[in-house]
């Protein structure tokens, strides 16, 4: 019994101490004005003032919210559906499917830091491929990564390069688990491939659809590395995750204020996390 308790207790303690304790500390600290100087006893509670400042005074907050929403929208409406489409196409018995899968999946094993560098090889103003090709056609160089009206979209294309492969592989695994007799029955009834997918396959894939949806939302909230590598998340690439870190590593370390931004991120994440949990638990009960 003691061995058992230790076997669960030690991992659980490490996880709770380094993941859940800081999560709750974020919530508590977000109601304080702590600047990190002075001990814990110098902390004063100021209620919701940090949130008020965040929403009304702090300039990058609303742009960051907007960029996170655009990121999410782009993933949900473009990248994830493309990943699903590719999974459906690769689910057919075709020659060379392993090659296709490997090619699409390759970016997923790359660090997002590397994706960031590759983005620069393509889009930097004077050394990038895209402007290089543009120059051949007599186009003026575009500052893809510096111009705040386009840099988010430019980054999203490279983020999708990675996300699409991820969705494809998850969905493909789900499709392999669909009972083949369902498809045959639909075929006998004269359904086209498109009809079969939307009326038969897609509904039975509900658990995987939900998980892909949750992963898409979580990945959009976690977006950090790419924007940070490109310009430290300034000037058009502000994201909530980056605002949190800027308040730690910047000159002025505003612990309470940074925590308030983290709590916003937490609150948005709670929804998809709960959906994921209830979904996986229901699967288990079955």
């Amino acid at each position: 019994m003691i061995i058992l308790a230790a076997m669960l207790g030690i991992p659980a303690f490490i996880h709770i101490f380094l993941v859940w304790f800081p999560t709750f500390a974020s919530i508590v600290l977000s109601a304080t004005d702590w600047d990190g100087i002075g001990g814990l006893d110098s902390i004063e509670f100021i209620g919701a003032k940090n949130y008020q400042v965040l929403a009304t005074v702090y300039p990058p907050f609303w742009p960051a919210v907007q960029h996170n929403l655009i990121w999410l929208g782009f993933f949900l409406l473009i990248a994830t559906p493309i990943g699903i489409l590719l999974a459906v196409l690769l689910d057919k018995e075709i020659r060379g499917t392993r090659f296709y899968q490997g090619a699409l999946y390759l970016p997923v094993v790359l660090s997002l830091a590397i994706v960031g560098f590759i983005t620069q090889l393509f889009l930097s103003t004077d050394q990038g491929l895209v402007n290089g090709i543009g120059a051949i056609f007599g186009m003026k160089p575009v500052d893809w990564l510096g111009d705040s009206s386009i840099n988010l979209w430019a980054v999203l294309i490279f983020a999708s390069w990675r996300h699409i492969g991820y969705v494809m592989i998850l969905y493909l695994a789900g499709l392999k688990g669909v009972d083949p007799t369902l498809r045959e029955a639909a075929k006998v009834d004269g359904a086209t491939e498109v009809q079969t997918f939307f009326r038969v396959v897609f509904p039975v894939m509900l658990p995987i659809n939900i998980i892909v949806l949750v992963i898409t939302v979580i990945e959009s909230l976690r977006a950090f590395d790419l924007a940070f590598i490109i310009n430290r998340g300034l000037n058009g690439l502000e994201l909530l995750s980056i605002l949190v870190t800027n308040n730690i590593i910047g000159e002025a370390s505003l612990i309470g204020f940074g925590s308030a931004i983290a709590v916003v991120l937490l609150v948005v994440s709670v929804g998809p996390i709960i959906i994921y949990l209830t979904r996986t638990q229901r699967e288990e009960a079955r």
Partner: protein
């Protein structure tokens, strides 16, 4: 008779012809997509092989045929990449071993013995793994500055700016995912063997070590591949919890190749290819494990 069958035959022929053509179209589409997907890496490799002077004179979109490995030598020497690779190794190896060891024990307890609070723990681990790391970074940063860590483990007396600290946060965070995957996997195992071992008088540790562990080897293999890649690829934890430049892991150190005022894209390309290479090799060597690990965690409830 012939008048009736001819249209039918023609229709059938047309249909198979249609299928064949749609197959060709599908292949053309997939080949195009595959090339599009591989192209960024190809471009990085091509750029990395060209001397800076060549691209400066002729532009990046040019094919002069002047190719050599100079950028790689420069990246290795001036970028001191071997040192940073070693730093990564110091983090990845213990982090993966510890994560899997601890997660397998937690999963073993959670899947083999029914306690009232099993569900609570399972949910805690699963939810923890889904949190964006930025939610916890602010207090964690302060904790790492305040927590004492003695002697050879730390050269400044605290967890901040230490390998141990980076390893600890990787272990804590990845425990969530690995426990989730392993406990699901263990639930699918037959209980007969465990019960037989109990009858034979085996202790809990023996059941864990001698009976369950050999059976979860496939899931373990998948998780080793996946976790090594993830921890190797990490950029965020080291960025915030390490300060000494010399101790940075390779992905974070790559930023050093970027000059303050002058950027040499050829050199950056070489650095990116060097850092990407180990993960690409692992992927090709263990594609099956890689994919099964992800799908075990992603789609299997």
């Amino acid at each position: 008779m012939t008048a009736v069958s001819t249209p039918a035959v023609a229709a059938a022929a047309k249909q198979t012809g249609g299928i064949r053509w749609s197959r060709v179209g599908l292949h053309i589409f997939l080949i195009t997509i595959s090339i599009l997907w591989l192209f960024p890496l190809m471009w990085a490799v091509y750029t990395s092989l060209r001397p800076y002077e060549d691209t400066a004179a002729n532009g990046y979109v040019s094919f002069t045929g002047v190719l050599n490995l100079d950028n790689y030598f420069t990246a290795f020497k001036d970028g001191e990449l071997p040192k940073y690779f070693l730093n990564t190794l110091i983090v990845v190896v213990p982090a993966v071993i510890l994560t899997l060891f601890l997660a397998s024990m937690a999963a073993f307890t959670l899947s083999r013995f029914s306690w009232r609070f099993n569900l609570f723990f399972l949910m805690l681990f699963t939810a923890g793994n889904l949190l964006p790391p930025q939610v916890i970074i602010t207090p964690l940063f302060r904790m790492f500055l305040a927590l004492p860590l003695p002697g050879p483990l730390s050269d400044n007396g605290v967890w901040y700016d230490q390998y141990v600290g980076i390893i600890a946060i990787h272990v804590a965070f990845q425990l969530g995912f690995c426990t989730f995957v392993l406990s699901n996997y263990m639930k699918t195992l037959s209980k007969d063997l465990t019960e037989a071992a109990v009858v034979d008088g085996a202790g809990i540790w023996q059941i864990y070590y001698k009976v369950t562990m050999p059976l979860v080897r496939p899931a373990f293999a998948a998780l080793v591949v996946l976790e090594s890649t993830w921890i190797y690829n990490d950029f965020f934890w080291a960025l915030l919890l390490m300060r000494t430049g010399n101790k940075l892991p390779i992905t974070s150190a790559l930023n050093n190749l970027k000059g303050e005022f002058f950027t040499n894209n050829n050199l950056i390309a070489a650095g990116a290819v060097i850092v990407a290479l180990p993960t690409i090799i692992v992927f090709f060597a263990a594609q099956k494990q890689f994919i099964s690990g992800l799908t075990l965690g992603g789609t299997k409830g």
